[in-house]
């Protein structure tokens, strides 16, 4: 029987970052606050 060369490839998996990376970013965002005072900006990370 002739080979089928037209067979579709399996769809390539979507490239996604680790769940931990996303979780870290969301927590980091919640913890971070930036206050600007004139020329300076101060970063605060809440524990």
């Amino acid at each position: 029987m002739a080979k089928l060369y037209s067979q579709k490839k399996l769809a390539s998996q979507k490239m996604l970052p680790k769940k931990e990376t996303i979780s870290f970013l969301l927590h980091y965002s919640k913890a971070l606050s930036i206050i600007k005072a004139g020329k300076f900006s101060f970063e605060f990370i809440a524990n």
Binding site: K14, M15, L16, P17, K18, T21, I22, F24, L25, L26, Y28, S29, K30, L32, S33, I34, K36, S41, E43
Partner: protein, 194 residues
């Protein structure tokens, strides 16, 4: 309208106003595109995660400090940040020299074990034993200076003070101690090499 149907520009505005959930939607919406872009440059998932994380840390800091002014162009802006971080990564990794093992060069040629093997240790023990016997043969005043200098690592000044002689006398005794040791070694055909 549900929050996840809002445009990027509206989500950014909401995030700047303090609605943290907007960031989650933005990341979820564009993570594949941004991560795929980074992966196309750095073919290492762990490093990609690091660059992805650093990219969004910059995004968060910029948005929180109200420095963002590219309304409607969120993805190209994030891509540009990611691109710059990828370049930084390659600059850094270029500085770290990487040496592969080849037929002519082995990384193990740089590494050595300074401890003695069993045979050399036995030889060394024998030499030390021979030497301690020979030292007993030289005069007491010379032996005293030799032991203080070689075993106790004292300076000639300290030896002179301890033995109650001048530095020159101590130096002279040391010189004669070595001459006498050599004579005994030569006379008895002793080999003191490892």
């Amino acid at each position: 309208m549900a929050i996840n149907e809002l445009s990027d520009a509206v989500l950014i505005r909401k995030y700047i106003q303090g609605e943290e959930s907007a960031l989650g939607i933005l990341i979820e919406r564009h993570q594949s595109k941004i991560y795929g872009f980074i992966y196309s440059k750095i073919k290492d998932k762990d490093l990609c995660d690091d660059v992805f994380q650093d990219t969004f840390i910059k995004v968060i800091k910029t948005l929180k400090s109200n420095s963002y002014n590219e309304e409607g162009k969120f993805v190209p802006w994030v891509m540009r940040i990611a691109h710059n971080l990828v370049i930084d990564h390659f600059r850094k990794s270029k500085k770290i020299r990487f040496q592969r093992d080849t037929d002519e060069y082995s990384v193990f040629s740089l590494l050595s074990d300074s401890s003695l093997n069993a045979e050399n240790q036995i030889i060394l023990d024998q030499i030390e034993l021979d030497l301690s016997i020979i030292i007993e043969e030289i005069p007491q005043d010379q032996r005293e200076v030799l032991v203080m200098r070689m075993h106790q690592d004292l300076s000639f000044k300290e030896i002179a003070d301890l033995t109650g002689v001048s530095i020159n006398t101590a130096l002279g005794r040391m010189r004669y101690a070595i001459i006498n040791l050599r004579k005994i070694i030569a006379k008895n055909n002793i080999v003191l090499t490892n």
